[in-house]
C-alpha cells in the first residue's frame, strides 16, 4: 500500500498543473470571499447575515477547482492510456483507487486549509470593521470561536468530500469532461431546481438530500436550528454521496476491463 501510495504521489506531483491548480484554488477561494466581505452591507441594528457564510463564500468556487483536480487524477489516466500501465504494475485495483483517494483528499486538505484560513482571516479583518462585532450580538469571527471553528473546519472537510465524490464519479465514467460535468451538475442542479419547488415539504426534502446545500450547511453560525438538517448531519449527507460515488467507481474499476 505504501508503494502504491508512493507511485500515485509521484504521478500526481509530476503532472503539469497540480501546483498551479492548488494556488488557483487557494487564491480564488480567498478572492470570492474578499469580494463577498466587501460587498456586504447591513446596518448594525437590523441585520441577520451570517458572517461565517459571507467570509467563506469562496468555497463555492474553490470546490470547482477541487473537482477539476480530483476528476483529472483518475480520468487523465484513461485519456492517455496510462491506466493500463498502472493496473499492470499494481494489480490491486482497490488499492490504486484508495491511494488516489488519499492523494486527492490530501490535495483538497492543503487547498482547503489555505483558502479557508485565508478567507477567515480576511473576513475577520473586513467584517469586524462593518459592525459584525460581539458588541452587536455576533460571536467573534476569530477561528478560536466555536461557531467559526466549526464553519472553517467543516468547509475544509466539505472540500475533501467533494474531492472524494469527484474521484468516485470520474472512476465510474472514465472521462474528464463527462466526470466534471456530472460532478458540477450534481452540485448545481439541486439549488437551481429548488428555485422552482415552492411546496415547502418538498423544498425541505430536496435541501436535505442536495449534496451542496446540505454540505454547506456546516458554514451556518446564525439561526442554526432553522436549517433543514443540522450542520454535521448535512456534511454527512455529502459524505454519503461521496461514499456512494466511490463504491460505484470501485465496482466499475474492479469489474470492467480498463
Amino acid at each position: 500500500m505504501i508503494l502504491t501510495l508512493h507511485a500515485e504521489w509521484t504521478k500526481f506531483r509530476t503532472s503539469a498543473g497540480t501546483f498551479w491548480l492548488l494556488l488557483a484554488a487557494i487564491g480564488m477561494t480567498m478572492a470570492i470571499g474578499a469580494v463577498a466581505d466587501a460587498g456586504v452591507a447591513c446596518s448594525p441594528s437590523a441585520c441577520s447575515q451570517d458572517p461565517a457564510k459571507i467570509s467563506l463564500a469562496g468555497v463555492y468556487l474553490g470546490q470547482v477547482l477541487v473537482a477539476i483536480c480530483a476528476v483529472t487524477i483518475m480520468s487523465a489516466e484513461y485519456g492517455t492510456g496510462m491506466i493500463r500501465t498502472t493496473l499492470t504494475a499494481m494489480p490491486n485495483r482497490i488499492a490504486v483507487l484508495s491511494a488516489k483517494a488519499v492523494v486527492a483528499t490530501g490535495w483538497a486538505l492543503v487547498a482547503g486549509v489555505g483558502g479557508v484560513v485565508g478567507s477567515a482571516v480576511l473576513g475577520q479583518l473586513v467584517l469586524n470593521g462593518k459592525g459584525f462585532t460581539p458588541a452587536n450580538g455576533y460571536s467573534s469571527l476569530a477561528l478560536s470561536d466555536a461557531g467559526m471553528l466549526r464553519a472553517a473546519c467543516g468547509s475544509v472537510l466539505y472540500l475533501m468530500l467533494i474531492a472524494l465524490l469527484s474521484l468516485g464519479i470520474s472512476t465510474a465514467v472514465r472521462d474528464s469532461a463527462a466526470g466534471i460535468g456530472l460532478v458540477l451538475g450534481l452540485l448545481f442542479a439541486f439549488p437551481i431546481a429548488l428555485v422552482m419547488v415552492s411546496n415547502p415539504h418538498w423544498h425541505r426534502h430536496l435541501e436535505q438530500i442536495a449534496p451542496m446545500n446540505a454540505g454547506l450547511g456546516i458554514q451556518t453560525t446564525v439561526d442554526v436550528h432553522s436549517l433543514p438538517l443540522s450542520p454535521w448531519a448535512g456534511l454527512g449527507v455529502l459524505g454519503l454521496w461521496a461514499a456512494g460515488a466511490l463504491v460505484l467507481g470501485a465496482l466499475v474499476l474492479q469489474l470492467c476491463d480498463a
Partner: protein, 368 residues
C-alpha cells in the same frame, strides 16, 4: 391613477400599465382624471385644469358586463426595508396609510345605488380605512398597493419558469462543446485534422458552426417539448402563469436554444484555449451557472454578475417588465434580470466572441 412620484398611470387587468404624463399630484397641484366607457373599450384621460383633456390610453376588456361598479380608490404601498441575507433576503415592512380628497366627482350615464366604502384586499380589522362624503367631496383613506402584479414571494410564475431545466441541459451541452475540441487533442486527431485542413481558423470556425447548429436544433426541440409539457403540468396543478404573447413565447424558446448553442461554442473556445476537458468544462460552467448559485448570497452581487458574466445570457428568457412604481422582488429567480433580453444575450455573445478570438490566435500560434 395619479401618484406622488411616478406620474399619472392607467392600469388594468393587474398586468398592464400605461404611463401618462409625469405630472405629480399633491394638495397644491391637483390632477383631473376621467374614464369613459364605450362597449368593451375604456379610455383614460387626464387633465391639469378640467378643461383640456389628454388621452392616456385605451384598454379593451372583452366580455365586460353591461353594468360594472365604479369607484375612487386610494392606495399606499407598504413601507419596506429589504435587507440582504446570505440565503435570500428578508423584508421588513409595515403598512402605510394615505388619505386623498376628491372633489368635482361626476358620473355620466345611468348609475344606480350610491357611493359605498369598500375594503379591497384587506379585511376591515387589518386597516381601518375610511371614506367620508360631504356634498360632492370625498375623503378616502386607504393602504396597500395596486399595480401590475410583481412577483411577491420571489416565485417564478412566468413561462420561462418551465424552462429552468435549461441550466442542466446547458451543463450537458458545455461538456459536448468542450469535448468537440479537447477529444481531438487527447487522441492526437488534431494533428490529422490540421494536416488535412491547414487553415486553422477555418477549422475552428467550421467546428463552431457545426456545434452551434446541432446544439441549437437540439435545444429548440428540447425546450419546445419541455415548455409544452411543463406548462400544461403547471396549469393542471393550478399554478398561475403570467400571460405572455405568442411572440414572446417564441422568443423565449428560440432564445433558450440560442443560449445553449452559444454556451457550447464558448466551451469549445475555452477548450481550444486550455486544451483540457476538465478545465474547459469547469470554466464554462463556472462562468455561466455559478453566478446564479453565488448570487443566492447577495442580490447586489447577483445583479452585478448578471450584467458582466456570460450568465447574463439567460436574460433572453425574461418575459416580465419591471415597474419602478411597484415594489417587488426583482431578481432572476423570480424571472427578472438587470439587462433586457437581447442585451443579456449580447453579453454572452461578446464573451464567446472574445474567447473564440483568443482561441483562434492561440490555435494559429501554438504547435498542435
Amino acid at each position: 391613477m395619479a401618484t406622488a412620484t411616478h406620474g399619472v398611470r392607467m392600469q388594468y387587468n393587474y398586468t398592464k400599465d400605461i404611463a401618462g404624463s409625469a405630472t405629480t399630484v399633491s394638495k397644491t397641484s391637483p390632477q383631473w382624471l376621467r374614464l369613459s366607457r364605450s362597449g368593451d373599450t375604456l379610455t383614460g384621460y387626464e387633465s391639469a385644469d378640467g378643461h383640456s383633456w389628454t388621452k392616456i390610453g385605451v384598454a379593451t376588456l372583452s366580455g365586460l358586463p353591461a353594468s360594472v361598479p365604479v369607484g375612487l380608490f386610494v392606495a399606499s404601498p407598504d413601507h419596506d426595508a429589504t435587507t440582504e441575507e446570505v440565503v435570500g433576503t428578508s423584508t421588513e415592512g409595515s403598512p402605510s396609510m394615505a388619505t386623498a380628497s376628491f372633489d368635482d366627482v361626476s358620473l355620466q350615464g345611468s348609475a344606480s345605488g350610491g357611493w359605498q366604502g369598500t375594503q379591497i384586499g384587506y379585511s376591515a380589522s387589518d386597516s381601518p380605512n375610511t371614506f367620508t362624503q360631504s356634498g360632492g367631496t370625498f375623503a378616502v383613506t386607504g393602504s396597500g398597493d395596486i399595480g401590475p402584479m410583481a412577483s411577491s414571494g420571489g416565485d417564478n410564475n412566468t413561462v420561462s419558469g418551465s424552462l429552468i431545466g435549461a441550466f442542466v441541459g446547458l451543463m450537458a451541452m458545455v461538456v459536448i462543446g468542450a469535448l468537440f475540441i479537447t477529444s481531438e487533442y487527447r487522441r492526437g486527431l488534431i494533428r490529422t485534422t490540421l494536416t488535412a485542413s491547414p487553415r486553422r481558423g477555418r477549422v475552428l470556425a467550421a467546428k463552431a458552426v457545426v456545434l452551434a447548429c446541432v446544439v441549437f436544433a437540439l435545444g429548440l426541440a428540447a425546450s419546445a417539448c419541455t415548455m409544452w409539457f411543463v406548462d400544461r403540468l403547471r396549469r393542471h396543478n393550478g399554478t398561475y402563469i403570467s400571460p405572455a404573447s405568442a411572440l414572446t413565447e417564441i422568443r423565449v424558446l428560440v432564445g433558450t436554444a440560442a443560449v445553449l448553442a452559444i454556451a457550447a461554442v464558448l466551451a469549445l473556445a475555452i477548450g481550444t484555449i486550455v486544451r483540457r476537458s476538465a478545465t474547459a468544462v469547469a470554466a464554462a460552467i463556472a462562468l455561466i451557472v455559478l453566478p446564479y448559485i453565488l448570487g443566492v448570497s447577495s442580490i447586489g452581487a447577483l445583479q452585478w454578475m448578471l450584467r458582466v458574466t456570460p450568465a447574463a445570457g439567460f436574460a433572453v428568457q425574461q418575459t416580465l417588465h419591471q415597474y419602478p412604481q411597484v415594489d417587488g422582488v426583482y431578481i432572476a429567480s423570480a424571472g427578472y434580470y438587470p439587462l433586457s433580453p437581447w442585451e443579456g444575450f449580447g453579453v454572452l455573445l461578446a464573451w464567446t466572441a472574445l474567447a473564440l478570438g483568443l482561441a483562434f490566435v492561440l490555435l494559429r500560434k501554438r504547435d498542435a
